[in-house]
Symmetry: C2
């Protein structure tokens, strides 16, 4: 039996600089509650170079990690097909899903995410909010 | 037994003007092969006003339609959480999925979509390509 929880963190790879600062901090915070399988998503170099792997391998590796996870935590301020795809899978697989959306962006969260009863959506302003939201969800 | 096929068409609601012209034409073309349950996605007024319905109702209605569909056809040039979510669900439910990506945008298609063996990805330049791709997939 695993003693620690596995956490899958997802965020738009092409998020802007503001997103990346939050991703990095989220990965760090999640690390207090378990093993973050997708730690590389908090690495801003990914935004520049992408991953040097065939798409099929990235896809299969990420879905294997998602299967192995106890939770999906997704930053959803910047729209992303990949993140949406992972939320669709995780809700089908009965995994608890937390979506973090930053207030003040001019974006509106997709009704498919905001309207799902299998997803917890939390709005944040700053890192204090993020800390509290994650602690409530995982603590 | 239903005599016609049901087709679910998906596209980013916040796609730009170029996207909408293609969405509209795709909905029209798909109508030759079956009933397009999400015809409203081809209506550009949606981009301005959005849908005047609670998120939960939009979500549940769209997932009911997706369940009732024989195919999912998605335009994936503009990243979208909702479209990714629907692709994630449809691949779990064993529905054939066609993703259309327009060449020449500076975007790269997500590895989660490009790398899925349950998704047919087709690149298009113009409406002639779209016509041929749809005919090959549904004809």
């Amino acid at each position: 039996m695993r003693m620690t929880k596995n956490i899958y963190f997802a965020g738009a790879i092409r998020g802007g600089r503001a997103d990346w600062a939050f991703y990095q901090e989220m990965v760090r915070l999640l690390g207090r509650y378990g093993t973050v399988l997708t730690e590389h998503v908090g690495n801003s170099e990914l935004a520049i170079s992408g991953e040097d792997m065939p798409d099929r391998e990235i896809h299969d590796r990420d879905l294997t990690w998602l299967h192995q996870s106890d939770y999906l935590v997704a930053e959803v301020t910047t729209p992303s097909l990949g993140v949406g795809y992972e939320i669709g899978k995780a809700t089908e697989w009965g995994k608890p899903v937390l979506c973090l959306f930053r207030r003040g962006s001019d974006r509106k969260l997709s009704a498919m995410i905001a309207g799902s009863d299998r997803v917890t959506v939390s709005i944040y302003d700053d890192l204090d909010d993020v800390r509290e939201i994650i602690s409530t969800f995982l603590g």
